[in-house]
């Protein structure tokens, strides 16, 4: 249905691209928008009296407005970054470092991407904050309720043993219970880039708030925003990050959304030009958000390209895309679960999961799987997928991963299954 909009598939007709979780292919309209910026509208933004500069500014700010409308936010709450990872660093540096102190708690999960772990490890080393990792159930879902039952002030149970169902020692070094007031930040991925699991963010946030947790909530939307309709008001989140290149847009552009009040309180990470009001020998005064966080010249054509990507997604309709993808997900689960010796790391039902499939074939290493699939022009990823904590949880060093997007079809699933058959043939000595 959508494949013909993506020129790479015309140029590489044999390509079966199953690595959209790593980066997405680009539709012609995005390519045209970038080219058109260069050929017709290219100038630096926010300065310049001349017409061309004004047109460039309109295109750039117009894209900001499109991003805002996509996620139910206001334009002044949209910060353009390099990617989702940068956005999390901005929050770690500009907000968390400023407001958290020793022994404050940050809640993460074992399924997080390194981008939502490493900045917090650095903060732990710098400030002495505690990191708590929500565990994963054997159905590859997020066990978020276990945090609530470990909070002090919850309905008490008879013995400490009853708290140990999910490995209570994870939650605090010495205490058997956690003080909810100490939890200052909860940072979770909305969709796992390995398991495909959709975490019920709205439910998590509301149940945590009801349990007395007064933390800020950061949502890593890198894998969710490209595939699902997201409304930050409905989620009731405080921060959201995502990347353009995973949602049909150019690389080098990301989005950080933050509640207006929080962006006002946050310090900028990078400082310099474009983000100042005045500069003297002794002082520099920042602009307001979002300009405060956009230092130097941004990825001008990239931002415009992202705007075009959002236009494309919205004209296709996020709900329609989700429905089409769910069909492929169901079909893929059906076919993959029928393969003897295939182990799936992720929910085996289509409910609350996207079409990201991590798997292993017998004891064949994911590298070798990817190598042999490559011969049939099937592109999958193999390795730890920037989720070494999760790999450890799963008891493997890496997995093979096939991830689908709106341009993939059921035929692609069939080709993958045939390819997996080939892999098995090669390794049957």
């Amino acid at each position: 249905m959508f494949k013909s909009d993506f020129p790479i598939f015309k140029n590489q007709p044999n390509l079966v691209y199953l690595d959209s979780a790593a980066t997405s292919q680009k539709p012609q309209v995005v390519i045209d928008a970038v080219t058109s910026f260069y050929t017709q509208t290219n100038a630096n933004v926010h300065r310049g009296i001349y017409d061309l500069s004004q047109q460039a500014t309109d295109a750039y700010e117009g894209a900001r407005g499109k991003v805002a409308r996509l996620i139910g936010a206001k334009s002044e709450e949209i910060v353009f970054t390099a990617n989702a990872s940068a956005g999390i660093n901005y929050i770690a540096y500009g907000w968390a470092r400023k407001y958290l102190q020793k022994d404050d708690v940050i809640v993460l999960s074992e399924m997080e991407h390194h981008s939502n772990i490493v900045p917090w490890i650095r903060l732990k080393d710098e400030l002495g904050v505690q990191l708590v990792f929500l565990p994963i159930t054997k159905d590859f879902r997020l066990d978020y309720r276990s945090l609530i039952s470990s909070l002090r002030g919850q309905a008490q149970r008879e013995t400490k043993q009853s708290h140990n169902t999910y490995g209570l020692p994870r939650f605090a070094r010495n205490d058997a219970v956690l003080d909810p007031r100490k939890i200052k930040l909860v940072a979770l991925t909305q969709v796992s880039n390995v398991l495909g699991t959709i975490n019920p963010i709205a439910e998590i946030i509301s149940s945590y708030k009801a349990a007395g947790i007064e933390a800020k909530f950061l949502v890593d939307g890198a894998q969710s925003v490209p595939h699902l309709a997201i409304d930050v008001q409905q989620l009731d989140a405080d921060f959201l990050v995502f990347s353009s290149h995973k949602m049909l847009g150019p690389s080098g552009v990301g989005v950080l959304w933050g509640k207006k009040k929080l962006l006002a309180e946050m310090d900028p990470f990078l400082v310099g030009s474009h983000m100042i009001k005045t500069v003297s020998k002794n002082t520099a005064m920042w602009q307001d958000a979002p300009q405060k966080f956009e230092t130097g010249t941004g990825a001008l054509e990239g931002v415009v390209g992202l705007g075009a990507a959002i236009d494309y997604l919205q004209s296709a309709g996020m709900e329609k895309i989700a429905v089409a993808e769910k069909e492929v997900t169901k079909y893929a689960l059906e076919r993959l679960s029928a393969i003897y010796g295939l182990r799936l790391f992720g929910p085996n039902e289509a409910r609350d999961r996207l079409s990201v499939f991590s798997f292993a074939i017998g004891d064949i290493h994911p590298h070798d799987t990817a190598e042999i699939l490559n011969r049939s022009h099937i592109a999958i990823r193999s390795g730890h997928h920037c989720a070494q904590l999760l790999m450890k949880c799963l008891g493997v060093t890496g997995t093979a991963r096939a991830s689908f997007y709106l341009y993939n079809t059921k035929e692609d699933v069939d080709t993958l299954v045939e390819g997996i058959d080939e892999v098995k043939k090669v390794f049957t000595v």
Partner: protein, 125 residues
């Protein structure tokens, strides 16, 4: 079936690796990991003067890294350290005779480079 990379001989080394296991009282015991993907290898050697009397390996990794570790241990057993140090990565790859992409070359050379590191640090002692 003749596969340019996964030749029967490679698959044989993968399924039945030579010299796999831990070695007691090793003179050299060195481990390394391929950070890109998580292949890891540990080499253990007993020396007799400047000759590798026995060498074993353990590790987890793809078929290429495992097979090359196995082939390597066959190759260097009974050889003198000074001769082994003169083997270049290109020599080893030629010995393997595989068609490797740059990514898989790392897999193939993991145990080789680990061996060279281990011999280097031994000589410096």
């Amino acid at each position: 079936m003749s596969d340019p990379l996964y030749r029967e001989i490679i698959l044989d080394h993968w399924k039945n690796p030579h010299n796999y296991g831990e070695l007691e009282k090793a003179d050299i015991d060195i481990a390394d990991v391929n950070l890109l993907c998580g292949d890891d290898v540990r080499l253990m050697m007993r020396l007799d003067n400047d000759t590798i009397k026995q060498i074993t390996f353990t590790g987890r990794g793809c078929a290429i890294s495992q097979a090359c570790s196995s082939i390597l241990t066959d190759l260097v057993t009974g050889k003198q350290i000074k001769d082994i140090k003169h083997i270049s990565p290109e020599d080893f790859l030629e010995e393997l005779g595989m068609e490797l992409t740059p990514a898989r070359t790392k897999c193939a050379l993991l145990s080789f480079s680990t061996l060279q590191k281990g011999l280097q640090s031994k000589l410096q002692q």
